[in-house]
Amino acid sequence: MGSNRRQFLRIAGVTTLLGLGGGITLSASSYQPEEHSAREKEARLHAGRWGMVIDTRKFQTEEDFHRVIEACHSIHNVPRDEAKAKQEIKWIWADHFEHVFPGKENPFLAERVEQNEFLLLCNHCKNPPCVRVCPTQATYKREDGIVQMDFHRCIGCRYCMAGCPFGSRSFNFCDPGPYVKDKNPDFPVRMRGVVEKCLFCYERLEEGKQPACVEASNGGLIFGDLDDPDSHIRQVLREKYTIRRKVDLGTEPSVFYIV
C-alpha cells in the first residue's frame, strides 16, 4: 500500500498542478489510509494473496446472513434505498444456489442446498477482468491480491460492471449520502457516479483486524493468506472440499465455498 499511496499522492499532485483536481485531492486524503506509527505498522496484516472460505453450513437462519451483511454495510456506509431496488448498492448479499452457481444446479439438488441461500461478494479474482477493462486504473489489484478501487479516479464508465462476470459491482446512480444511516466517519461516503464493491476491508487489515464480515460470522467465514501453506485458510482448504464460482471463466476467484 505504501507505494500505492505514494503514487496516489504523486498523481494527486500532478492533477492539482494541472488545476484539475484541487477539490478532489482534499477530499481524497480523508479516506486514503493515513500513514501509521511504527507500532501500528507492525499490527498491519500482510498476505501474498488474501482469500476467503465461506462455510455455507454455518449460514442457516436469516439472522446468520443478516448479521454478516449488516456488519459490512454499516461500517462501509453502504446506502439503503428500498424504493430503487434495481439501482441498489450491495457489497455482500445472499442468493439461491442456482443463482450463485449457475450451471452447477441440477433438478435433484439436495434439499439443504436447494432451500438455503449462499453469500455473494467480490471474489477478488487473481485474473480480474474488471481490472483488465478499467480505462483509468481506478480499479486495480494490490500486491496482496485485493482488488482495490480509487473512488476519486473512477469516471463512472461502468466498463468494470460489464467486465465482472459475477455481478459484484454496484454503481452510485445517485448521491448515496442521504441514504446512509448512521454514517461511519472513518470510512468515506462515496459520491454519485462512481462504482463500488467489497474491498476485503483493506482499512481494517491495516489496523490488524479481520474483515468485518469475518468477525461477525461466528466462524462461518475464514479469511487468510492463500499463498501461505501454513495459514489456517490453507489448512481448511486442504481438509474440506470447496467450490468456487464460474471457474471456467479463468478469473481465479479467491473466495471458496464449503457446500
Partner: protein
C-alpha cells in the same frame, strides 16, 4: 470557405434553429441528469449500459459512410464517387462527434473524463477506442477539409494528403474492430463473447453507414439540387446490399451456433429477444420488427430491378436502417446484460431523459453535418460541379 455556412435560404435557417432548439431542450434534461446522476435513466445494477452506449455503438458504424466511398475511389479508381466522397467524409465527422457525445453523457463523472488520458491504460479497450475514434475524427476533418479547399482554389489535391487517405481506410476498419473488441472479450457475457463480433460490426457498419448517407444525400439533392450522381448512388447501394447480406448471414450464424449447440447460456438471450424468457420479453416486438425489416430490405435490395428504382431503393434503405438500428442500437448492448451474471432477468427500457438527451446529441450531430455539407455543396456549386 466556412462563410458559405452563413449564406442560406429561409428553410436552411429554420432547420438550423430547429436543431438548436432541440439541443437547447435536451441540454435542460442533461443538466438535470448531471445534478441527479444517472438515476434518471432506466439503467440498473444489472443492465448497467443502455440506450446511450447502444447509440454510441451504432454511430461508430455510421461513421463507415466515408470508407465505403474512399476505398473504391482511391484504391479502385471508382471515379463516380469523386463528387460524393466529401459528403461521406463529413458525415463520418458528424457520426464520430455523436459517438463521443454518447460516451460523455453515459459517464457517471464526466468532469473526470481526462483521467483516461492522464492514466493511459493499454490493457483497456476503452483506451484504444478513444485513440481510434479521435484519430478517425481528425483524419476525416483534415482530409475532407484540405481536399475541399484545394477544389475551391481549383488546384490539385495536396500530395501529402495521399498517405493520410490510405491511412484513413485502415483506420476505418480499426474503429469498428476496436469497438467490437470493447464487448467481444468480456468473460461471461454470452451474447458478446463471439469471435465473429468484429466481423458483424464491420458488416453492419458497411451497410448502415452508406445507407444513411444515400438517404441524406438524396434529401440534400432535393433542397440544394446538388446531384451526387446516379452512378454513385447505384454502386453505393450495391455495396450496401452485399454488406447487408453478410450482416444477416453472420446473425444467422449466431442463431445456428446457439440453438444447435443447445448451450443454455448462448440460447437464453436470443430466446429472450424473440420469444421472451421466464415470462419476460420487453424486446420481443422490436426483435421481430428487426427480423421483418431486415428480410424485407433484402427482398427489395437484392434484385437490381427493384434497387435501381429510386422509390423502392429508398424503402429498402429505410427498412435496412431500421433493422440494423434495432440490432445494434437497441438489442446488442442491452442483451449483453440479460440474463444477469446470476441468471436472473432484469429488463431495461430507456426513460424520457435518455430519449431527450439522445435527441440533443443527435441534433448536435445533424447540426455539424448540415453546416459541413452546406459548405461542401456551396464550394461544389461555385466551381461548377453541381
Amino acid at each position: 470557405m466556412l462563410e458559405k455556412a452563413l449564406d442560406g435560404s429561409k428553410t436552411y435557417w429554420a432547420w438550423i434553429i430547429f436543431l438548436l432548439a432541440v439541443m437547447g431542450v435536451g441540454s435542460i434534461f442533461y443538466i438535470i441528469q448531471l445534478q441527479k446522476g444517472l438515476m434518471v435513466t432506466g439503467m440498473s445494477r444489472d443492465v448497467s449500459w443502455g440506450f446511450y452506449i447502444a447509440q454510441f455503438t451504432y454511430f461508430v458504424g455510421v461513421a463507415a459512410s466515408a470508407v465505403m466511398l474512399v476505398l473504391p475511389l482511391y484504391l479502385h479508381n471508382q471515379k463516380e464517387f469523386k463528387k460524393m466522397v466529401i459528403l461521406g467524409e463529413f458525415m463520418a465527422v458528424a457520426a464520430v462527434v455523436i459517438c463521443m457525445g454518447f460516451i460523455v453523457v453515459d459517464l457517471g463523472q464526466p468532469q473526470r473524463m481526462l483521467n483516461v488520458m492522464l492514466y493511459p491504460t493499454p490493457n483497456s479497450m476503452l483506451f484504444y477506442d478513444m485513440i481510434v475514434l479521435t484519430g478517425y475524427l481528425l483524419l476525416n476533418i483534415v482530409i475532407a477539409w484540405n481536399n475541399l479547399h484545394a477544389e475551391w482554389q481549383r488546384r490539385p489535391h495536396p500530395r501529402w494528403l495521399q498517405p493520410l487517405i490510405y491511412l484513413s481506410i485502415v483506420w476505418a476498419v480499426s474503429i469498428h474492430t476496436v469497438t467490437a473488441f470493447l464487448i467481444q472479450g468480456l468473460p461471461g457475457r454470452h451474447l458478446w463473447l463471439t469471435a465473429i463480433m468484429a466481423s458483424r460490426f464491420l458488416a453492419s457498419a458497411f451497410c448502415s453507414g452508406p445507407a444513411i448517407l444515400i438517404i441524406l444525400a438524396l434529401i440534400a439533392k432535393k433542397f440544394t439540387r446538388f446531384d451526387p450522381g446516379r452512378e454513385a448512388i447505384r454502386i453505393l447501394s450495391q455495396i450496401v446490399t452485399y454488406a447487408m447480406i453478410a450482416n444477416v448471414f453472420l446473425f444467422l450464424c449466431e442463431l445456428f451456433t446457439a440453438y444447435y449447440s443447445n448451450i443454455p447460456g448462448h440460447e437464453h438471450i436470443l430466446t429472450y429477444f424473440f420469444l421472451g424468457l421466464h415470462g419476460k420479453g420487453a424486446l420481443v416486438g422490436w426483435a421481430w420488427v428487426m427480423a421483418g425489416a431486415g428480410i424485407l430490405s433484402l427482398v427489395i435490395l437484392i434484385p437490381s430491378r427493384f434497387r435501381n428504382n429510386q422509390d423502392l431503393l429508398l424503402a429498402g434503405l429505410v427498412l435496412l436502417i431500421l433493422a440494423t438500428w434495432i440490432d445494434k442500437g437497441l438489442l446488442l448492448i442491452v442483451g449483453g446484460f440479460i440474463p444477469n451474471p446470476m441468471g436472473a432477468i432484469t429488463q431495461y427500457a430507456p426513460t424520457g431523459y435518455e430519449i431527450m438527451i439522445s435527441a440533443m446529441i443527435y441534433a448536435t450531430g445533424l447540426l455539424i453535418l448540415t453546416i459541413l455539407w452546406k459548405v461542401a455543396i456551396g464550394v461544389k456549386k461555385e466551381i461548377g460541379e453541381a
